[in-house]
Assembly symmetry: C2
Homo-oligomer: 80 residues x 2
Amino acid sequence: MKAKIHITPKKAVLDPQGKAVQNALAQLGHGNITAVHVGKYLELELAPGAERDATLVSLHEACRRFLTNPVIEDYQLSVE
Amino acid sequence: MKAKIHITPKKAVLDPQGKAVQNALAQLGHGNITAVHVGKYLELELAPGAERDATLVSLHEACRRFLTNPVIEDYQLSVE
């Protein structure tokens, strides 16, 4: 079983890294990009036999407590 | 239109950040995680009316030349 976590800056938060990437891309000729958001992507491999619901609850708690900063970041968690 | 890029370290490359996250999660009680891979996630908003195929080609080039380090990183690009 695998869990995928996407962590992105909240839309209301200034994203200087995204702005820098957007400017660099524009200078390289990719001018048709109107916005870039840079986030983190985590892939977690789970021990076989883990129970899906309990894993989801436990990973949501890990996201809130440790993996993300809920003040400035949003996350999306999926288990497959 | 939106492009999503997942950049992950190649499987053969040591991922110390992933290892650190895995150890930290284990100490927080999430011991059933066997591996963690930490990568980057980019969301690109494209100007309306952009042509899909040309955009894909141009973004693949941007990924290879600028956004990723092809020696140690893999990427996945999707446009939707």
